[in-house]
């Protein structure tokens, strides 16, 4: 049955805030961003068309750009799997019926809720200072202390550890997933004499794959866009030696520190393509490893 005119009008009346907001703040800006990416624009003079110069410059003549790609890929491909591994391990630890679970769940999740704040980034910066707690512990354990702000790789591991520390939301989604696995499956496995490893790899992992896929996509997109910790920890510069120059931070610097709006727009478009490719790969690979229950379950 086709909706009547008045039904159509009512429908659009309700979704009009989204439609208007999408056009004004997303769709038109996306087109504008694409246009600007082919221009030289400093915000004061009019944009001047330069064709694909920004893209050429980016790929062939800007070592900082490649450095930011390298740093971001390291951040994403080390950080996201570690984060999910911790999330799953803790979710399994907390997947019992003890009354204290609520308390533990709260405590493990708390870092994630405050994690995006400037305060936490400042805290992290100081934990890793030359005289900070982390170094005190290293010395206590007989390991030489590390100059976290002097060595680019060490500085990046600061950012990665901060992201891993905030595994809480993935943990909660895993917990919900674990609760959804029918107990009967484990009981059947017990009857067959399965050991804990077999239970994990034959039941838990396959049953969780849809949740793992979801977490991977959301966390990967989020990780690609990380800005605040890199900005705060490196005081806006991405140092030392560009070791914490995450893509979003470099984009911000190009756009709003050096006022290369065209270059920043080109960077944004490449980022969109990169994220699109990774999301597509994850989705397409899912048919080889994601297990969906056939009987309409979700």
């Amino acid at each position: 049955m086709k909706p009547s005119l008045s039904q159509n009008l009512t429908g659009y009346a309700f979704i009009s805030p989204f439609v208007f907001g999408f056009l004004a703040f997303t769709f038109i800006p996306i087109l504008a961003s694409l246009y600007l990416s082919f221009t030289d624009y400093d915000l004061l003079s009019t944009p001047s068309w330069v064709g694909i110069d920004n893209y050429v410059e980016m790929f062939t003549n800007d070592p900082k750009y490649w450095k930011s790609i390298e740093v971001t890929f390291l951040y994403v491909f080390l950080g996201v799997p570690l984060r999910l591994a911790f999330a799953l391990a803790v979710a399994m630890l907390l997947n019992t019926t003890s009354r204290a679970i609520g308390v533990y769940r709260t405590l493990f999740y708390l870092p994630s809720i405050i994690g995006g704040s400037v305060a936490v980034s400042i805290m992290w910066r100081n934990l890793f200072g030359d005289d900070g707690v982390v170094n005190s512990w290293l010395v206590f354990l007989g390991i030489p202390s590390v100059s976290w702000f002097g060595d680019p790789d060490a500085a990046l591991s600061m950012l990665i550890s901060l992201s891993v520390w905030q595994f809480g939301s993935s943990m909660l989604i895993f917990l919900a997933g674990l609760k959804g696995i029918p107990v009967a499956l484990y009981e059947a496995a017990d009857v067959d004499g399965a050991n804990p490893f077999q239970r994990f790899f034959k039941i838990t992992m396959p049953m969780l794959t849809p949740v793992i896929l979801f977490n991977m996509i959301m966390q990967t997109i989020g990780a690609f866009m990380t800005f605040v910790p890199a900005y705060i920890i490196s005081k806006g510069e991405g140092g030392p030696m560009d070791g914490t120059l995450l893509y979003s931070l470099y984009l911000f610097r190009q756009g709003f520190v050096f006022f290369n709006m065209g270059y920043a727009s080109a960077m944004a478009w490449v980022m969109l393509v990169i994220i699109g490719i990774f999301t597509a790969i994850l989705f397409m690979s899912s048919k080889f490893w994601v297990h969906y229950e056939t009987k309409g379950g979700k």
Partner: protein, 278 residues
Amino acid sequence: MKTKLTRKWMYHLVAAAGAFLMLYPVLWLVMSSFKPSTDIFVTAESLIPDPWIWSNYADGWQGIGDFTFATFIKNSLIIVIISTIGSTFSSALVAFGFARLKFKGRGFWFIVMMFTLMLPNDVVLVPQYILFAKLGWLNSMYPIIVPSFFGHPFFIFLIIQFIRTIPGELDEAAVMDGCGKFKLFVRIIMPLVTPAMATAAIFSFYWRWEDLLGPLLYLNKPSLYTVSMALKMFLDNESLSNWGAMFAMSVVSLIPVILIFFLFQRYIVEGISTSGLK
């Protein structure tokens, strides 16, 4: 029987140790805010301040230039409260349209909505900045507040999921009684989706309160600074090495977040489990 008890104790030992490790950095921050600035890194490995110092809080509260932290907290609250109300109600309205109304193009707009949900914000950053600059909105709260009145894709999705659990007979009965769609939404559906709206409101609060990029781009005079911006300014003045004051204000900035977390954690947990927020 004994082994069962031992295992139980082992379990709690492992879980509690893990939880302590997770919370250690926060404890360190809180405890450091009570240490004299000169001691913070000398005694970094010990948690307990000796002696306890309260003046860090008074020092930090002095803020930057002529503005105390009261100004920054007020600014943050203005932004957070208005945009939270805006995004929660507009998202509920849109969600109702998607979940309950039949109209041409609904499927299309739903896909568009799901697409925006995954769109990296960086792509629209520069044009939005130019747009707000052209509107003369730089150095005002408008660029941060106004867009929240047009629905937030995550919250729309969350509320749609929730509306779908409400039986459709309810709508039919209401329409039979001569109830219009808007009245149906306000009188029947909205009261039933308050848990989902509460979840959206809580997350909106967090994201706004913690937001740095928005203030960094649009608020460039100290009278408009939010708490996040003020902390960032503290860090820039680090040469003064008044660490204690900076830590004290960091703690202050976390208090509302942690308070809301403990008050509403049931909603938060449900919201994440159903939609993957955050």
